[in-house]
């Protein structure tokens, strides 16, 4: 047997049956041991657990291994865990390679093919591992400054929180006014706080804060740069000469907010009958209403019977609800409307006792603290509830009765599916939440957008306020519908991440960037031509060991994206990506085609 | 099922004419105290509400109703209203076996004895002991109930009564909750077992207590008889539906649908019998109903008297 040059340790996880139910883990271990570079192969019920990690640490410390391959779940879950373990063993975290044998093997294949494939993936990871070398994170100076895009409550709160940590913040708002959607709200569910009071408190703080610069009426035109060193081009609408402002910043928080859904013409009679209005319109009416009469008045007319219809433009179902002109459908729940509807109903019933209210819902979603109480209160206030199914929504039509210009017919689930008619003189539609269209900005910044058209976080639990692009975060209703308190929590969470990132004044980045083999580089310049990031790769004159000036490629690591466009074109194979080298892939393919471990 | 309209009519008429829902004249039903020398003055008035006394008659009438439920005969019920109440009542009284009537007296005698043993300063005034009208209330004859309750309450008030001992749950509920609400007259109402102060013993037996709905759920006093029993060393077995969650014996449905009543009763008896212990009731309706199903049941007062 030949002496093993590399010392790769292979660690295979049972994942509590998740893997071992379909992959013969012990068999895979035995096959891995036969691989030319593997000196140790071990298994564990949970590789990510402390005892699992401890195995790796022990083997590294005792010198049995100098490269680590863990075969377990998707690398997105535990790559950092194992890199951390390697670091704790005093080794360089980048001597690590991951084999994904759960999401890409045991959960999709069964029986012998699963075991064979797991073994091959480990062989291939091992082939890559032997080329791994210790790397050091790239140190990038970061501007201790953050930019918050969007001046609604989430944006304001984010700005205040980051500034509270002694970091300068610029807050950018497209409209002339800070406060966003909260400006159009009145008494908030469930505790009755006034939106205006909340805004006043926060806006006073943010405008008075010395570390916060506010640009209202300002649009972000362009974004460039990278973590710690972003650059934004701003355009002030008030500026007649349209001179763009440039802003250098270390981190960006997207807090671009949302808008209320606009029903299409004829949706529950909207745009067809003037007595059909949206919930935001009702809230505006309530804010403005100073009448001391016992009935709510709309356009001078007292309202005797009001029907409120839930889930308008939310929870839409393909095949039942017609899509918008652009083909979109709001399949999500808008989260806040149930409580807002009940809150409005309670206000009306308590202020205008002669106005009766019928609420037609699919599910009452008073999920949060103090919200079920709103529902109870509405019942105590004699609001009548009726329930409809998505495929048989209430029908709003004209009524012959002069007292009630409209009637709403509903097949009421609560009344044993009987058809009931409610005469009405006002119909209010609980219109949902839609994200502001930030496609332009998002595509410039490479931010993912979900199928629901909201900005998409990396992972709802692991990294709920982060984007895959380092240094850019998100908060508030640009991510999903949420109420004011929830948006503020998201703001706090985004702010804490941004603060941690910027607090030191420098950032450590993944070292996966291009590196030039100066022995091989002949200065062709093909790589520089192929490079997609301006400034990341340049041709420089250097003095070769013979003392002669030659041209050679040089990488600016903080700028390099690590895409590898350069590696593909170098005729000498003199440039490659650290940790993701072309050579490694070639060897991986060799391991895959060689069936040595699959027998 | 009988037509409630007819039943209510008869009951209301009876109460109006004879102060008794079944038309039984009080002098015929209320005789339990006659051989006891009960004090006529005391801190508390013992107020039986005549429920224990009426129980055997209810049973007789149910037997007849049961025969005719859901038969064309049920329709003849409506003619009952043309028969004077006291006549039908006396008929009912005559049809009820004397043995049953005698048995019905025993709990009342027991309770008087237990109160004496517990040195409760109480009196009994047959002239003040009236039916509470509760059945009218349960049937929805609000006007009939209020008219009757007002009469009863006024008499008690005029007699200067402040504190009342009740024995059955229905009367207790009527006097405690309904009288203040509908007559505006309030008494301090205490179920008899709450006043018992018996010498502690160690009987070492176990019984299954069936809580009446009104004591268990409405008046929330079902833990008190348990304490009284435990003081005598009598364990009460735990069943799923007890206390606030007690199951109805079916009794109150008797007059409208004896079949339904039987159904409910049988289910309840089955549950009570799972423990294998003697069953104890403390409501005349429950007692009668559970007995009817053949359960081994006796009144709480009888058990207490035996071990006090």
């Amino acid at each position: 047997m030949e002496e093993k040059k590399n010392k790769v340790g292979v660690y295979i996880c049972y994942c509590g049956g998740n893997i071992s139910d379909h992959v013969d883990v012990e068999e895979v271990r035995n096959r891995a041991l036969k691989l030319p570079d593997v000196t140790v192969a071990r298994t564990n019920m949970f590789m990510c657990s402390d005892p699992g990690q401890e195995m790796i640490i022990e083997d590294l410390k005792s010198g049995k291994i100098d490269r680590v391959v863990v075969a377990s779940c998707a690398p997105s879950l535990h790559e950092t865990t194992f890199r951390g373990a390697i670091e704790r063993a005093g080794s360089n975290p980048f001597i690590y390679e991951h084999a994904n044998i759960r999401e890409q093997v045991s959960w999709v294949h069964h029986g012998d093919p699963a075991t064979d494939k797991a073994a091959i993936l480990i062989a291939s990871a091992t082939a890559k591992a032997k080329h791994l070398k210790p790397l050091a994170p790239i140190h990038v100076d970061a501007k201790r400054h953050a930019t918050v895009i969007g001046g609604g409550i989430a944006g304001i709160k984010t700005a205040l929180d980051i500034a509270g940590q002694g970091i300068d913040v610029t807050l950018i708002e497209r409209s002339p006014l800070l406060g966003g959607q909260l400006n159009s709200l009145g008494q908030l569910a469930p505790y009755g706080d006034h939106a205006s009071d909340i805004l006043k408190e926060l806006i006073d703080q943010v405008t008075g804060h010395t570390a916060i610069t506010i640009h209202t009426n300002t649009k972000v035109e362009a974004v460039s740069g990278y973590v710690g060193n972003f650059s934004l081009n701003l355009l002030k609408k008030s500026d007649p000469e349209n001179i763009p402002l440039t802003l250098d910043t270390g981190a960006i928080v997207m807090a671009t907010g949302s808008v209320s859904y606009t029903p299409f013409k004829g949706e529950y009679g909207f745009g067809q009958y003037e007595s059909v209005i949206t919930l935001p319109e009702l809230i505006r009416l309530l804010k403005a209403n100073t009448s001391s009469r016992s009935m709510l008045e709309v356009n001078g007319k007292p309202i005797k019977n009001m029907v409120m219809i839930h889930c308008v433009g939310s929870r839409q179902i393909p095949g039942i609800h017609p899509p918008k002109e652009n083909g979109t459908l709001n399949e999500y729940c808008s989260r806040t409307c149930c409580s807002a509807m009940l809150n409005a109903a309670n206000q009306i019933r308590e202020t205008f006792p002669e106005t009766s209210i019928y609420e037609m819902y699919r599910d009452i979603r008073t999920y949060g603290r103090g919200q079920e109480e709103l529902y109870m209160q509405a019942s105590a206030n004699k609001v009548v509830f009726m329930r409809y199914e998505a495929d048989e929504p209430p029908e709003v039509s004209k009524n012959d009765d002069p007292d009630y210009p409209l009637q709403v017919r509903i097949k009421d689930g609560l009344t044993f599916n009987e058809s009931l008619t409610v005469p009405a003189d006002l119909v209010v539609l609980a219109t949902g939440i839609e994200p502001n269209d930030v496609t332009n900005l998002a595509s410039q910044m490479k931010l993912p957008i979900g199928t629901d058209r909201f900005l998409l976080e990396v992972h709802p639990k692991l990294r709920p306020v982060e984007f895959p692009i380092t240094g850019i975060f998100l908060a508030g209703t640009c991510q999903a519908p949420m109420d004011s308190g929830e948006a503020c929590n998201a703001a706090g969470a985004a702010a804490v991440k941004a603060s941690a990132l910027l607090s030191k004044g420098y950032i450590e980045l993944d070292p996966f960037v291009a590196e030039v083999d100066t022995d091989k580089c002949q200065g062709h310049g093909a790589c520089v031509e192929a490079c997609i990031k301006e400034g990341a790769l340049t041709l420089m004159e250097v003095i070769n060991p013979d003392g002669n000036p030659v041209k050679q490629a040089q990488v600016t690591p903080a700028m390099c994206l690590g895409c590898g466009a350069c590696a593909a074109v170098c005729p000498e194979g003199a440039i490659d990506i650290n940790g993701w080298a072309l050579k490694q892939y070639e060897d991986m393919v060799d391991a895959i085609v060689s069936d040595s471990v699959a027998v | 099922m009988f037509n409630p309209k007819e039943i209510i009519h008869i009951l209301a008429n009876n109460v109006r004419q004879t102060q008794s829902p079944f038309g039984i004249p009080k002098f015929m039903a209320n005789t339990w105290f006659k051989d006891l020398a009960l004090p006529e003055k005391g801190e508390y008035l013992l107020f039986t509400g005549l429920m224990y006394q009426f129980a055997p008659y209810i049973e007789t009438s149910t037997q007849y109703l049961e025969k005719y439920e859901d038969t064309p005969m049920a329709d003849y019920l409506k003619y009952a209203k043309y028969v004077p109440a006291y006549l039908s009542g006396i008929g009912l009284a005559l049809m009820t076996p004397g043995k049953e009537k005698k048995k019905a007296r025993q709990p009342l005698k027991n309770i008087a004895f237990l109160l004496e043993q517990s040195k409760v300063d109480f009196c009994y005034r047959p002239d003040l002991d009236h039916y509470s009208g509760i059945l009218l209330y349960d049937m929805g004859d609000q006007a009939g109930f209020v008219a009757h309750a007002k009469k009863v309450a006024h008499r008690l008030q005029q007699a200067g009564i402040k504190k009342i001992i009740t024995i059955d749950p229905h009367t207790a509920y009527a006097l405690k909750e309904l009288f203040p609400k509908y007559t505006g007259i309030q008494f301090e109402v205490t179920p008899y077992f709450e006043l018992l102060d018996l010498d502690p013993k160690d009987c070492g037996i176990e019984v299954t207590l069936h809580d009446p709905c009104f004591f268990g759920r409405y008046l929330h006093v079902s833990d008190i008889p348990r304490k009284v029993l435990s003081n005598l060393g009598i364990q009460t077995s735990k069943i799923r539906n007890q206390g606030e969650f007690t199951s109805c014996c079916g009794g109150p449905a008797e007059s409208i649908s004896p079949a339904l009543s039987n159904d409910i009763m049988d289910k309840r008896v089955k549950e009570l019998e799972t423990t294998g212990k003697p069953i104890i009731a403390y409501c005349p309706i429950c007692l009668g109903n559970l007995k009817k199903s053949g359960a081994n049941v006796e009144d709480l007062s009888s058990l207490l008297v035996r071990h006090a």
Binding site: W107, P113, A114, D116, K446, P468, C563, G564, V593, V599 | -
Partner: protein, 141 residues
């Protein structure tokens, strides 16, 4: 036939981008949707890394089919996708010359939640390579 060939002739190599397609494949796993096991997914930062020769080497080594699962226009490396597309044009051209069936190489965009698209691509390729068999590319070419 060699014993190895009996094992699995038709290997499919999938180059899946780290930000989109690779988590997309994970998402298929999370949904426990089965697909052929002759697929080998390599996590790549951007497929622009691979020179033309890489693909031919793969075919020479015995890989039956290659699917490049990129981020498409969502690619975090601005411009990389264009370069990749251009390179693949050249690859296809050469494949034609070498009489390698064009179905053996696919470029597609797979997002993080594109389960159905992923399955379709994989199954289609599997069908193709089963029909075509292993590539017989002259190693000297």
């Amino acid at each position: 036939m060699s014993p190895q060939a009996e094992k699995e002739d038709n290997k499919i190599l999938i180059l899946a981008t780290e930000t989109c397609a690779y988590p997309g494949a994970d998402s298929v796993g999370q949904a426990h949707s089965p697909y052929p096991a002759n697929t080998y997914i390599l996590r790549v930062r951007a497929p622009v890394l691979f020179p033309e020769s890489f693909y031919f080497d793969c075919f020479k080594k015995g890989i039956s089919g290659i699917i490049i699962m990129s981020c498409g226009e969502e690619c975090p490396y601005d411009g990389a996708y264009k370069a990749l597309a251009k390179r693949l044009d050249a690859v296809y051209k050469k494949m034609k010359e070498m009489a390698i069936d064009l179905r053996r190489l696919r470029l597609t965009a797979i997002c993080t939640v594109c389960n159905r698209a992923f399955l379709k691509e994989v199954n289609d390729m599997d069908k193709s390579v089963r029909e075509l068999g292993p590539p017989l590319v002259n190693p000297s070419l």
